[in-house]
Every structure is written in structure tokens, then in C-alpha cells.
């Protein structure tokens, strides 16, 4: 009860100070302009803006966890990722893939084509098809603009229109851009909608299959994680921000039965994966 009360007080504090801030800086002309833009608009963020926003969010993520210093591993992940991207409806995005030097088990996507997987997650994989499955899941969030939608949902009215209306070159100086980048980074701590995750699972399996891989790479990774100790701190953020692994596996079980039999002979490329990861110390086995 005390905790609830405290959080109410806390929230009130935040909202009232934010209100005071907004009122203190109000500029009637600008406010009306924003309102007009919001009305005109579709308030839609076009592709260059989507990429700009994603780059800001990706940069923040790299501020929390640096890139793994291993060119061979980074290049390999980009090769697998770009090969997958060519099998999607957005092959022309500036796709960039990075391995984060962090023992947490997780993967991230940012709008516009930025995808990251942690060293800790790579350590749980056994083949290129498993890596492909995870990358394809993350790509699906970008293809379907899940993060963009999550940011829009959380943003104050007008902020999106303000950003969408700014000239591209004004980047960095634009306060709307900064706010949306922060909001976008925070989505990683909060997570997407459950249905977005389920959709990315369904699409990820299909994209990996289109690219010629064993379709069961993504399910295999999810199954491995499900077998790990649920209280392991390296899984805490993943578990907090994703639907239960058991539920995801149950849905994939129902989805894949029968439909993927004809693709079961497609390669998993375990030796190629192990060859690249072999002497890096990433695989702790």
C-alpha cells in the first residue's frame, strides 16, 4: 500500500513539473504551428527520418554497451544479416549489424536498419541458422516499424509532427529529435507489445527459411534460453521485456507443424559458425 502511494506521489511530481516546464516555455505561434502540422499530418515519419531516428537510438545503445572488438565476428554477422535483408521487403535500408561486448543475453533493433546482438546471446548459439533466426526476428521489428509505433504511442501529441516537419540537416539541435531518441532508447527497458514479439517470431522463421537456412534456428535459440536458469541476471532484461519463452515456443510449435517439413534439409551451417566463433572466447563451452 505504501509503495502504491509513494509511486502516485512520485508520478504526480513528475507530471506537474513537466507541465510547469511546458507552460514556462510556451510560444503561442509555435504551438499553433505545431498544431497545424499535426492536423495536416499523417504525422508520418518518412524513411530518411526513420533512419535518422534509428541512428540516434543505436548510438545510445552503443553508449550503454560497446561493440565487440573483433572484426571477423562483426563482419560475419553483417554478412549473415545482409543476406537475410535481401530476402525482405526492405532490402534497400542501410542495414547495419553489430555485436555488443556485453554478457547480457539479448538482441535489439532500432528503426531504419540497425540490429544488435550481445556476445552473451551469441554464446548460447550453435549454428549460423540460429544466428540467422535471431537476426531475422529483430529485422521483423524494423520491417513492421514496431519500435516506431511504440515511440509514437508514448510521445506527446505534436512531437512526432514537429520532428517529421524538421529539415533533416537540423539533426541534433532539434529538441523533438532528442526527445524521441530518448523515448526510443527507453523502449528497450520497457519492451514492445507481446503481439509485436509474436509477429517477429513468425516473420523471423520465414525470413530465415527464404534465405535458405534451417527454419528451426530461432526456435532452437528460444528453447535453449528457456532451459537456462530463469534467475540468471543476464536474462533479467530479456525476460522483463518479452513474452514468456514457453508461450513463444508453444505458438511456434502450432505454427510450424507440417508447414516447414519441406525445408528441413536446408543447412544450419554449424561448422561455419563455430569456425568464426571458435577462438574468440565467446563460446564458453
Amino acid at each position: 500500500m505504501n509503495r502504491k502511494l509513494l509511486s502516485i506521489v512520485f508520478l504526480c511530481g513528475i507530471s506537474s513539473s513537466a507541465l510547469a516546464f511546458d507552460l514556462g516555455n510556451i510560444d503561442l505561434g509555435k504551438a499553433l504551428g505545431t498544431l497545424q502540422k499535426a492536423q495536416q499530418a499523417s504525422a508520418d515519419i518518412d524513411e530518411p527520418k526513420e533512419i535518422e531516428l534509428g541512428a540516434g537510438i543505436a548510438s545510445n545503445l552503443l553508449g550503454a554497451a560497446p561493440l565487440l572488438k573483433n572484426q571477423r565476428v562483426q563482419k560475419y554477422v553483417n554478412n549473415v544479416g545482409m543476406w537475410l535483408a535481401l530476402q525482405t521487403e526492405r532490402p534497400n535500408l542501410p542495414w547495419q549489424f553489430g555485436v555488443l561486448d556485453d554478457n547480457d543475453v539479448n538482441a535489439f533493433a532500432a528503426p531504419g536498419g540497425y540490429i544488435f546482438v550481445t556476445k552473451g546471446l551469441l554464446a548460447q548459439m550453435k549454428s549460423e541458422a540460429e544466428l540467422a533466426g535471431v537476426l531475422a526476428h529483430e529485422m521483423s521489428h524494423i520491417l513492421r516499424k514496431h519500435y516506431l509505433e511504440a515511440i509514437k504511442k508514448g510521445a506527446r501529441t505534436g512531437l512526432i509532427a514537429e520532428f517529421a516537419g524538421q529539415a533533416l540537416e537540423s539533426r541534433g539541435a532539434d529538441p523533438a529529435f532528442k526527445k524521441l531518441v530518448s523515448a526510443g532508447t527507453e523502449v528497450y527497458a520497457r519492451g514492445l507489445d507481446k503481439d509485436d514479439e509474436f509477429e517477429a517470431d513468425r516473420m523471423g522463421v520465414v525470413i530465415a527459411t527464404r534465405a535458405g537456412y534451417d527454419p528451426y534456428g530461432l526456435p532452437a535459440v528460444l528453447q535453449t534460453l528457456q532451459g537456462m536458469n530463469a534467475q540468471d541476471s543476464s536474462l533479467a532484461l530479456l525476460f522483463k521485456t518479452h513474452p514468456a519463452l514457453g508461450e513463444r515456443l508453444n505458438l511456434l510449435d502450432r505454427l510450424m507443424t507440417g508447414q516447414f517439413d519441406e525445408f528441413e534439409k536446408q543447412p544450419a551451417h554449424a561448422p561455419r559458425f563455430m569456425g568464426v566463433m571458435g577462438k574468440t572466447g565467446i563460446l564458453k563451452r
Binding site: 550503454a64 563482419k75 553483417n78 554478412n79 543476406w83 530518448s182 526456435p219 528453447q223 540468471d232 505454427l255
Partner: protein
């Protein structure tokens, strides 16, 4: 008892799949070979305990009651059926929510990088963004990578949600 989970975890990591214990989450046919039309050897009821030997695409070779065979990998979950209900979200997630509370405040988890705290108070890293760009693969390069792996592209539509 705090050391117990850590101990169990280290076992899981070193054991990989071979010899790992799993259980069935539904009635499961045991096949002689990893194909749907292979001979059916037996049928395992839900919550049968099995030992996993290896995985081949959608199939896992298992040993149950001393007999080997192949089952659909998605009919299995690792661990012990007695301790894990199917669809279990994991106690860790529950503890995590309880610890962070609903106030939106963050719990400091120390210096670890991808903490909630760091994601809510981010700092950009433009240097790393430049490095990231250097690793990017072009379309042609990706094509030859796919070719080198004899990866043949297939036509398959996205799938609707399972009913």
C-alpha cells in the same frame, strides 16, 4: 542456498544439448528417423522425461526408457516437468518486476552495460557508430556470401497468427 542457481547454470552451459534432460509438453510420437513419414516407434504422453542427444532441424534425437528415437523439437522443453509448468514465465521475471516496482524508478544493477538505468539515461557513442558503419556488408558481398554457403533462396509468404 544462493549458490544453487549459479551451480545449476554452469552445468547447463557446459553440457550443451548432449545428455540434457527435457520433457514433453504434449503427446509426442517417437519416430525411427527425423522425418514426419518415418516409422512411429512409440508415443510419449505429456510430461514424459527424456534425455536429448542431438538436434537435426525440427527434430531431436532422444533417449526415453532406454530406447532411442526422434521427436519434434518443439514438443520438448528443457528442464524438469515437475519444476517447470509449460508456459512458465520464469521466476526471474517475476522477481525482476517486483524489484523494480511500478513506480518507474530504476534499480541500480551496478556497472553492467545494458541495465534499465543506463537505457533510461542514455549517452550517445558517435565513435562506435562510425565503427559500426565500417562493418556493413553491401548487396553484392551479401550475394556472394549466400552463394559461398550454398544457401538457395525459397519463396514462402509470411504466416498468419496460429489459431
Amino acid at each position: 542456498m544462493k549458490w544453487l542457481p549459479a551451480f545449476c547454470l554452469s552445468c547447463c552451459i557446459f553440457a550443451a544439448h548432449a545428455g540434457e534432460t527435457a520433457y514433453t509438453v504434449r503427446t509426442t510420437e517417437v519416430k525411427a528417423k527425423p522425418f514426419s513419414d518415418a516409422d512411429t516407434l512409440s508415443s510419449l504422453p505429456e510430461k514424459s522425461k527424456v534425455e536429448v542427444l542431438e538436434r537435426k532441424s525440427g527434430w531431436m534425437q532422444i533417449k526415453a526408457d532406454g530406447a532411442k528415437g526422434w521427436v519434434k523439437m518443439l514438443s520438448l522443453r528443457f528442464g524438469d516437468a515437475a519444476q517447470k509448468k509449460s508456459g512458465d514465465s520464469g521466476l526471474g521475471a517475476l522477481f525482476n518486476v517486483a524489484a523494480t516496482g511500478g513506480s518507474g524508478s530504476t534499480v541500480s544493477t551496478g556497472v553492467r552495460g545494458l541495465s534499465e538505468e543506463n537505457l533510461k539515461n542514455p549517452h550517445p557513442n558517435p565513435q562506435a557508430m562510425k565503427e559500426l558503419q565500417r562493418y556493413a556488408t553491401g548487396k553484392k558481398e551479401a550475394q556472394s556470401f549466400g552463394k559461398s554457403g550454398k544457401l538457395a533462396t525459397r519463396q514462402i509468404d509470411y504466416l498468419p497468427p496460429a489459431k
